[in-house]
Amino acid sequence: MEVKRNDTAERCDTSVVLCGIMLDNPVIAASGTFGYGYEFSQIYDINVLGTFSFKGTTLYPRFGNEQPRIAECPAGMLNAVGLQNPGVDAVISRELPLMAKYFHKSAMANVCGFSIEEYVAVAEKLDLEEQVGWIELNISCPNVHGGGAAFGLDPKMAAEVTSAVRRAVKKPLIVKLSPAAADIAAVAAAVEAAGADAVSLINTLPGMRIDLRRRRPLLANEKGGLSGPAIFPIALRMVYDVYKTVSIPIIGMGGVSTAEDVIEMMLAGATAVQVGTANLVNPTACLDIINSLPSVMTKYKINKLSDIIGGAHL
């Protein structure tokens, strides 16, 4: 067996399997930082990606928050975009057919909602679309029927929305966890029990900046979500903790910007990795990471990337 594996192993095999679908490599562009891929496809052939998660979709069109929505931070940024998107029907009628022209792999549909019903309605519609390979449930949205706290903060609420959507969709269901939860591993365990096929983490961390001139919160929304390299050690720790708790695959994200970061996330327990904010400051970030994966794998003596998943655990 061992011998046979070595014989057939290609030098630098970057492929990973995510809920039954093979990805050429574990690099997934993260929701909200890649639009529907269109702008990037004008810069490089985005079919080199493992896949990408398109902008979070709600039932109805949303403009999102007022300006300003962006604030700079040390090694990161805050965003308070507020889930701007054209609504699920326009995504299906306008964005997905366009996307099919330049992206020939299955994409990940990031689903948002402000009630369980909304999550279900959006997920049901996207589940029927051919281009959609996975449903990624963003449970960092506030539950307007549940006192306004985000679904992702509480294992029970997270499980409820997960099982409701689970019943409504056929495609693999990924639940995207919020780092603001008191115990993210407990939320992960709850959504696993509720039928999630994978978890992705982390979403942005609540943060804030103040404009010294105006002496007011810089963002119109007061608070925003922190992303970028600043949160990498926090994200990595959470992936490590969740790996100890669940047996479904984990998609790790938060500040990933280099091939080394991808490997670090995978050693912590990630089967695949999402790259978000890095795309915004370096439009070719995902391409650069994918191109440098083989040489970094060689440096760290990795033949098959999927071999190292969770490798840092004893």
Binding site: G32, T33, F34, G35, E39, F40, I43, K55, F63, G64, E66, Q67, P68, R69, I70, A71, E72, C73, P74, A75, G76, M77, N79, V81, Q84, G228, T277, N279, L280, V281, N282, P283, T284
Partner: protein, 250 residues
């Protein structure tokens, strides 16, 4: 659009105002009013700065890019310390830019502060198309004035206003409107209060250039979206130039 440029000049030309000239591939810059986004060491987000001018050196796209920026915070302050020879990573050709075709024969260009900068390439292009260009350049005080002569040299009819009257007409750009003669179209760039005043006072249709805080600068993050009459627009991609008729003031 991700290009390396080399600084060939970086000098103060007015109070807290610097002119930077860079050598690199300017082929993606197709319209006046577009901008570039500059990666600066130690700053996470790129800084958006308008194209003031481009000069094509060869047939192969390489040329000189002129930027004018005001020192208002850490990033622009750092920029002002950079010496010739330093290489910068730029995203170029960002934004829609102004449409010179709409100008009619007598376009009026109104700029305030650094907002004067993109009007220079716009004026050059309009004049090259045979238009008669008038510009009103508004500043706070005489020490802040820049490019007055450069606009004259290319044949624009120039009026300068300063808020304190230390140079040119006293007051705001709109105070110079009555003396501007008749015009067929308005192009404007400057701080939002100025844009609002021009919007109210201008007699014609026109194009206005806006600023928002940006993360990506190329249309993927929705960080810069604004409401307009025709739906939301990303200032970085569908803007920074909006037509007068589509503007919805906040």
């Amino acid at each position: 659009m991700n290009k390396t440029f080399t600084i060939i000049k970086n000098e103060k030309i007015a109070r807290a105002t610097y002119e930077m000239k860079l050598l690199g591939d300017v082929s993606d810059i197709t319209r006046p009013g577009q901008f570039v986004a500059i990666k600066l060491d130690g700053y996470f987000l790129r800084r958006p700065i308008s194209v003031c001018d481009i000069y094509d050196c060869s047939g192969d796209g390489s040329g000189v890019l002129t930027l004018i920026y005001k020192n208002i915070g850490g990033g622009t302050e750092f920029m002002s310390t950079l010496r010739p020879g330093v290489e910068l990573d730029l995203l170029t050709g960002l934004g829609n830019g102004y449409d010179t075709k709409k100008s009619g024969p007598y376009p009026l260009l109104i700029g305030g502060g650094c907002g004067v900068s993109p009007l220079y390439l716009l004026a050059r292009r309009l004049i090259a198309e045979g238009k008669h260009v008038a510009v009103i350049l508004g500043f706070g005080t005489a020490e802040e004035v820049f490019y007055e002569d450069k606009f004259r040299e290319i044949g624009a009819f120039v009026t300068v206003t300063t808020a304190d009257g230390s140079h040119g007409t006293r007051g705001f750009v709109t105070d110079a409107l009555p003396a501007a003669g008749s015009y067929t179209y308005t192009y404007s760039c400057g701080p939002e209060p100025m844009l609002r005043a021009v919007y109210k006072a201008a007699a014609t249709s026109g194009e206005y250039s806006f600023e928002e805080r940006m993360a990506c600068g190329f249309g993927v993050c929705m960080g810069c979206s604004c409401r307009t009459v025709t739906g939301y627009k990303r200032i970085c991609k569908d803007g920074p130039v909006l037509e007068k008729e589509e503007i919805l003031w906040k």
